[in-house]
């Protein structure tokens, strides 16, 4: 399975409103950034050049791994508004 194919496999109802926000100050100073590797949907990317952590919350499976694994309190994480986000059909 190629994680890049996620959007072909799993359906998302995308909200215009982000349900995850990143505290760039904390993330820039973080040494490990476990969210980047541990996210099952590969939502996080750290840009070494700009020092910015970006999150593609539109592909979020809402599992909460990043929320639990971040020990710096850098993520403001909540469920999307009702009706939005991942929409499993089978699984």
């Amino acid at each position: 399975m190629n994680i890049e194919d996620l959007k072909q496999l799993t359906q998302f109802i995308i909200d215009g409103q982000a349900h995850i926000t990143v505290n760039q100050e904390i993330c820039k100073a973080c040494e490990s950034r476990p969210c980047v590797k541990a996210c099952p949907a590969n939502c996080y990317t750290f840009d070494e050049v700009t020092g910015r952590l970006s999150v593609v919350w539109e592909n979020c499976l809402e599992c909460g791994t990043c929320h639990i694994i971040c020990d710096k309190g850098a993520l403001d994480w909540s469920y999307p508004r009702g009706g939005y986000g991942v929409n499993y059909r089978l699984t």
Partner: protein, 415 residues
């Protein structure tokens, strides 16, 4: 289940669902275990519920990248109702269950994410909702909002969850023709297989699973979050490695990926269960950390269904006496204590300690595979007896002290 039970008992119930429809946010491995509450609630459960296959075959496989040692249990007693377990799709099963609650009189409100608790006169008496914005008030709130339960957290029942107490499950649903599944797993009719893999996640504490559905297989991994963090690996890379193990790849050859999903699992066991009630609120299922594995049994959904039913029973008593205080709701804990839910969790309270042994996931499957290889290998050399083989493999790879310590942990957890 809680909503259904309450509605059937005549209470005024509102069931909040954050997805487009019930189940659209839910994922699990795939197996609904047989439990009394299902059979009592639906005498014709096996005929009417949207189930895929009943589990006839249980397989426990110890894996290394080169080999697998499997223990297969085919059981005729699992081939007739009440079946020991059935595979289901959560979006289908949960929608059906919610529909039953709805038919019994519960008001189902979809697209409603419970955001925060509302307190009045020192007790919880509602939640705020985002999506379809607003508030829902009630004498009793039952938080059945899953492993992350922000409702239990905001009610002050538990602090933020820790990676050491949680696992993440990831799953790929793979489409395969029904006949192919029957041939590959030696099944007929609606018989299903449930395969657990130990040694499937490399250095990470965790295991693999495979469940057969009618025309698809659910395959995936459960990984302990702290261990995943330390490994610095990505879950989908570990999954891809697992899918390429020869013993796995031949089971899924030619399959078409249909859906990919992920979900957290409470893994802290008995010790990590938070307080289960407060003034005006009860917590059930994953939200209450009611989930356990002892390496052989992996149970959660049966504990969730049962705790939901017991929460409803408690709520009905409280509604009758018009007392919604923590004291009144404390009978919920007593009911759970008396049921298999907390009895099993208490009985296997040392299992998280056993499951924390890293050697269980790589070294022991290697030892078992090594013993089997040497047992069967013929190369014109004198053959050692079995005990000598076991001693050589185990002592070489682990050492006596660690072996004894691990033996103690396994014994304490399971014996």
């Amino acid at each position: 289940m809680a909503a259904l039970k309450l509605a059937r008992a005549g209470a005024s119930v509102c069931l909040l669902e954050r997805g487009k429809q019930p189940g659209s946010k839910n994922m699990f491995g795939g197996l609904v275990h047989n439990c009394p509450v299902l059979n009592e609630t639906f005498p014709d459960f096996w005929e009417t519920a949207p189930v895929e296959r009943h589990v006839y075959k249980k397989v426990l496989a110890f894996m290394t990248p080169e080999s697998a040692v499997s223990l297969t249990f085919d059981n005729e007693n699992f081939d007739r109702p009440p079946y020991n377990g059935v595979t289901v799709f959560r979006p289908v099963f949960d929608a059906w269950l919610a529909q039953q609650a709805n038919k019994a009189g519960a008001l189902l409100l979809c697209e409603c994410t419970a955001d925060d608790v509302i307190r009045k006169d020192g007790r919880i008496n509602g939640v705020t909702v985002k999506g379809r914005e607003g508030e829902i008030r009630g004498n009793i709130i039952i938080a059945a909002d899953g492993a992350l339960s922000f409702t239990a957290q905001k009610a002050g029942l538990r602090p933020k969850l820790q990676p050491g107490d949680m696992g993440v499950g990831i799953k790929l649903l793979l489409g395969l023709p029904e006949e192919t599944i029957n041939e590959r797993f030696h099944l007929v009719r609606d018989q299903g297989a449930d395969v657990s893999f130990l040694g499937a996640a490399g250095d990470i504490r965790g295991g693999g699973f495979l469940y057969t559905n009618h025309a698809s297989v659910s395959i995936g991994l459960v990984m302990h979050l702290e261990s995943l963090k330390l490994s610095e690996k990505s879950p989908y890379d570990v999954l891809n490695d697992f899918l390429q193990y020869p013993q796995v790849s031949r089971l899924i050859k030619g399959a078409v990926p249909l859906e990919y999903s992920a979900h957290l699992i409470p893994e802290g066991g008995y010790k990590a269960i938070p307080p289960l009630y407060t003034d005006g609120l009860l917590v059930a299922g994953d939200a209450a950390g009611l989930c356990y594995t002892n390496g052989i049994n992996v149970e959660g959904i049966n504990l969730a269904l049962t705790s939901g039913a017991l929460a409803a029973e408690t709520a009905m008593e409280a509604l009758k006496s018009k007392d919604y205080s923590a004291k009144s709701l404390s009978s919920y804990k007593k009911k759970l204590d008396a049921s298999f839910v907390l009895k099993d969790m208490k009985n296997f309270k040392h299992s998280p300690g056993m499951m924390g042994m890293d050697r269980l996931y790589k070294v022991y499957p290697q030892i078992i595979a090594g013993i089997m290889e040497n047992l069967y290998k013929t190369e014109g050399k004198p053959r050692p007896k079995l005990l000598k083989l076991i001693r050589r493999e185990a002592l070489e790879k682990v050492g006596l002290t660690k072996l004894l310590a691990d033996g103690f942990k396994i014994g304490r957890s399971l014996l």
